[in-house]
């Protein structure tokens, strides 16, 4: 990994700025994969539990200062051991976020697309299950509830254990 940027911040980020910074000065980037997670209007957990759809109005993101950064560093290092990466950027917002706001950005550059895609997906899966963030969703009627960890996220993370050799 040539560079690693980890930022936990309240303010919004710009996908273009991050991509531009990752491309600057470097002539061997062949592939740049990004993932942006956004606040969805529909609350899938309430959706599962009840027949009607429940809309959320905002999310509240909490983290454990110090531990979260450490978790993200470890996740990026693990990705770098599996694939040949150039630059990795992980940005996660905290605080109150409204519907359709950006929550998380993961950008990975590499010489080849397989590495960029795989590392980006890997980092997201591990961020979801291993990094100290917690999400509370607030509904339009001003009730809120803490989002529960999803089984599908845990399963996605476990799948990576099967493919550990460096590629």
């Amino acid at each position: 990994m040539r560079s690693l940027k980890i930022s936990i911040q309240q303010q919004d980020f710009s996908i273009e700025d991050e991509c531009t910074a990752m491309r600057a000065e470097h002539k061997n980037i062949g592939a740049l994969a990004t993932f942006t997670g956004l606040v969805r209007e529909m609350d899938e957990e309430l959706d599962d539990a009840s027949s009607g759809q429940q809309n959320i109005s905002s999310l509240f993101l909490e983290h454990y200062p110090g531990m979260t950064e450490k978790n993200l560093h470890e996740i990026a290092e693990e990705a770098d051991q599996r694939w040949s990466l150039l630059d990795v950027v992980i940005i996660h917002r905290i605080g109150e976020l409204k519907v359709s706001e950006q929550i998380v950005f993961v950008g990975v550059s590499s010489m080849h697309r397989e590495a960029a895609f795989a590392a980006c997906a890997f980092i997201m899966d591990f961020l979801k299950t291993k990094a100290a963030f917690w999400k509370k969703s607030n509904n339009n009627d001003s009730t809120g509830h803490w989002v529960e960890a999803k089984k599908s996220d845990a399963e996605a993370t476990e799948k990576w254990a099967e493919t550990k050799e460096k590629r």
Binding site: K70, M124, K128, E148
Partner: protein, 87 residues
Amino acid sequence: MATIHYFASVREKLGLSSEQLELPSKVDTVSALVDMLIEQHDKQDGNWEGVLKTSSVLVAVNQSIAKFSSPIKDTDDIAFFPPVTGG
């Protein structure tokens, strides 16, 4: 002094985000700390046992995930929280 943090639903249910405590020498594991916390706080509002003894509650010692059987010292940073849900 040890610093104890509570996050997310654990913090909300306990009504406390962190506290600093002197750990007696016999409180040398996370489990022993949990028992001490329950004993201290439940004198007043009686909610801590239900919250901290839930099977889903996780613990970190010095910002690394730990077990309830993990050893602790009086200078440690200890945190209790529910499963993470970022991203």
